[in-house]
Amino acid sequence: MPRKPNNSRQTRALLAAFLERSRTWRHGYDLSKETGLRSGTLYPLLMRLSEQGLLEPRWQEPERPGLPPRHVYRLTTAGLALAREQELEAVAAERAGVLA
């Protein structure tokens, strides 16, 4: 049986973090702290999601002078749909586990 794409524990954690504040632009370090993913894992995931059209990146001007522009990310509509679907699956799996 082929493995479902974007279904790894790390990807699910990342999508859940995005879904929590779906309208906010998030930056890498913030996501790393929230999900516990290190930069070596986080960025390849972000790149892959962006290539799949699930994530929208952009450069954000710094809030304080003297700092460089920052890369920020937000889920696209397709990304949001996937994140919601995964959340529902997780809830269903949890319920099934409780009932069993």
Partner: protein, 144 residues
């Protein structure tokens, strides 16, 4: 700037240079994030992760079926081209014929020059040949 921070910046720069092409904005994003991390040790950990992320992305690119098929095709064409070039340059070249002493006329036992170089490749000079001939009795004219 502390030593850890300096190392973090260097590593992030390396990560950035290791990830060229379409992924360069991502490499730049990872590098710039260092400036927003206040803790030096955390910045260093972040930079090490950036290097790993760059290498991982490059490897994934290398093993991407679409890319690897192109690379295999290009490598095969190059190898074929090299093989044809080598075959062309080596074609027609054979080992030069070994000079053999004319022993039907000249007896190596009688010729001092041949006796010295018996083991090696040696072609007797005309002078030696002549000497050799004069030493031996002519089989057609034994009286001479």
């Amino acid at each position: 700037m502390s030593t850890w921070r300096r190392w973090a910046v260097k590593l992030a720069q390396h990560a950035s240079s290791a990830l060229p092409g379409v992924h360069s904005p991502w490499a730049e994003a990872m590098r710039r994030e260092i400036d927003y991390i206040a803790d030096d040790a955390a910045a260093l950990r972040w930079a090490i992760g950036c290097v790993l992320a760059s290498y991982r992305t490059r490897l994934m690119q290398w093993f991407n079926p679409r890319t690897s098929r192109r690379q295999v095709a290009a490598s095969s064409a190059l190898i074929l081209l090299l093989a044809v070039a080598l075959y062309d340059s080596a074609g027609g070249q054979t080992e030069p014929p070994r000079p053999a002493p004319d022993e039907t006329i000249c007896d190596p036992v009688a010729s001092p020059e041949l006796r010295q170089d018996r083991g090696g490749l040696h072609r007797p000079t005309d002078a030696a040949h002549r000497t050799c001939r004069s030493d031996r009795p002519d089989p057609l004219n034994p009286k001479k």
